[in-house]
């Protein structure tokens, strides 16, 4: 029934933080309309984009996400009147901070997807997945998580000398 899924060497993990009133309903519409989109996306539902703290995005990258999507209601359509306006400013600034710290912004996507835009949801998810797939795994934060500050390795001449004197 479904066309054969193409095999890829790398399947990116995409975390989507979505608002329950618009984008979640939009994604639901895509599902009930039987539209196909990459299964790489993991959707997390929030009451509003205004609830999505930049620290969630950071946490997602640290826990192994290769790409992050944040999506909510179009400006003016917020269920809580102004949540997405606040989110818009916050993410505009957070993007600049991540860019300055050296994160590739192509891995972070923001979008407005309304409850009627199942097609747009499919488009946004597909585009981000393919973009991140082409970029390869996000290694920066994962490497950090594996690194130890104080490794205990005796790897300098001074440390060796001190160790030998014990």
């Amino acid at each position: 029934m479904h066309p054969d899924k193409p095999k890829h060497a790398f399947e990116p993990k995409i975390i989507a933080f979505v608002c329950t009133w618009c984008t979640y309903a939009g994604a639901d519409l895509a599902g009930t309309s039987r539209m196909q989109y990459p299964p790489n996306v993991r959707v997390l539902k929030f009451p509003c984009t205004g609830r999505i703290d930049p620290v969630f995005i950071l946490k997602a990258f640290q826990q192994g996400a290769d790409g992050v999507l944040v999506s909510g209601c179009h400006p003016g359509d917020c269920h809580y009147i102004a949540g997405n306006f606040h989110a818009r400013r916050r993410f505009a600034v957070f993007r600049k901070l991540l860019e300055f710290v050296g994160v590739d912004l192509n891995r972070l996507q923001f979008s407005w997807v309304s409850a009627a835009e199942g097609g747009k949801w499919v488009e946004v998810v597909t585009e981000l997945t393919e973009k991140v797939r082409a970029m390869g795994p996000m290694s920066e934060f994962k490497e950090l998580a594996l690194e130890e500050q104080w490794s205990g390795a005796i790897n300098t001449a001074e440390l060796k000398e001190a160790y030998n004197q014990i």
Partner: protein, 305 residues
């Protein structure tokens, strides 16, 4: 190196002493927060004066780097919160107080502001007895736009010398912005790897007054608390984000950092972005809404699909 004229500091010190003595004697304030000489030659430390006879201990020298505003926040308990408090402020310290007033942490009528005409203070890496020059001046002073604090209750009449200096933060930000993301990541990775999570930057910051910091919570744990690279990076990103639009650049975080991480660089970068995006500069007027707690319907959304 070009010396910077600090000859007015003696007259400024005398004026501060006279004013502190007057307001304490008249009972206008219950305490004055200022600077006094510390034990090491030329150095200075914060002091709280409650007795008019002690006002003679107050000084102002190039070693008076501390931002005293931090003592008035609810996170600090050194000063009894009763009556009006007098405080000696440089222009940069006044910006922090202005921000705290906007965030309903302080009331203007509870403060008696003793302004300081300031030509600059010493960088913390130099001997406190050293002469102030274009080389030894604190980096924040090279970009100072508040040599004369505005709207104080008392301001000595002297005018500070304000030679144009090389803008150290602006130059460093421009250098980093010109790098590739990978190079910037390598730079910050090296810097953050030095962090020992002593939280001195949080302790000294006038704006870190939360009674429970997000980064100390463990249910859910948003930021790893151990001094490992992952937690350090997250801490510094969260810190910069929480200070965006509030920090006015007193650079105390950078001064107290025992590992010499260029923390104020992140703060200045955020300030620069907020100026470009929303034309907002922290610290000049009391606003009850900052750039990240307000919005307009016409805000830029070119980055959103």
């Amino acid at each position: 190196m070009t010396p910077i004229d600090t000859s007015i500091y003696a007259a400024v010190s005398a004026a501060i002493r006279a004013e502190a003595q007057r307001i304490l004697t008249e009972g206008q304030v219950s305490a004055v927060v200022g600077y006094t000489a510390a034990r090491r030659k030329g150095s200075a430390q914060p002091v709280v004066i409650t007795d008019a006879n002690d006002a003679a201990r107050l000084i102002f020298t190039p070693a008076c780097v501390n931002n005293l505003a931090v003592y008035l926040t609810k996170a600090k308990k050194e000063i009894p919160k009763k009556g009006r408090i007098g405080i000696v402020v440089k222009g940069c310290d006044l910006k922090a107080l202005t921000g705290l007033m906007g965030e309903s942490q302080l009331k203007r009528e509870d403060l008696y502001l003793i302004g300081v005409p300031c030509a600059g203070v010493l960088a913390s890496t130099f001997d406190p007895a050293r002469e102030l020059t274009a080389d030894s001046i604190a980096p924040k002073c090279s970009e100072c736009d508040a040599h004369l604090p505005q709207g104080c209750d008392f301001l000595p009449p002297q005018t500070p010398a304000t030679p144009a200096l090389d803008r150290k933060y602006a130059a460093e930000i421009a250098r980093l912005e010109a790098l590739t993301p990978q190079e910037r990541w390598a730079y910050w990775k090296e810097q953050f790897a030095k962090c020992i999570k002593c939280y001195a930057c949080r302790q000294v910051c006038p704006f870190c007054f939360c009674e429970q910091c997000l980064c100390d919570r463990n249910k859910p744990q948003m930021v790893e608390t151990t001094p490992r690279p992952a937690g350090n990076t997250a801490w510094h990103i969260v810190r910069a984000m929480h200070l965006a639009g509030r920090c006015a650049g007193c650079a105390e975080c950078e001064r107290v950092c025992p590992m010499d991480i260029p923390l104020n660089l992140l703060n200045r970068k955020m300030a620069k972005e907020l100026k470009e995006l929303y034309d907002y500069e922290a610290g000049f007027e009391v606003n009850d809404k900052g750039p990240l707690t307000s919005f307009t319907e016409k805000d830029d959304q070119s980055f959103i699909k």
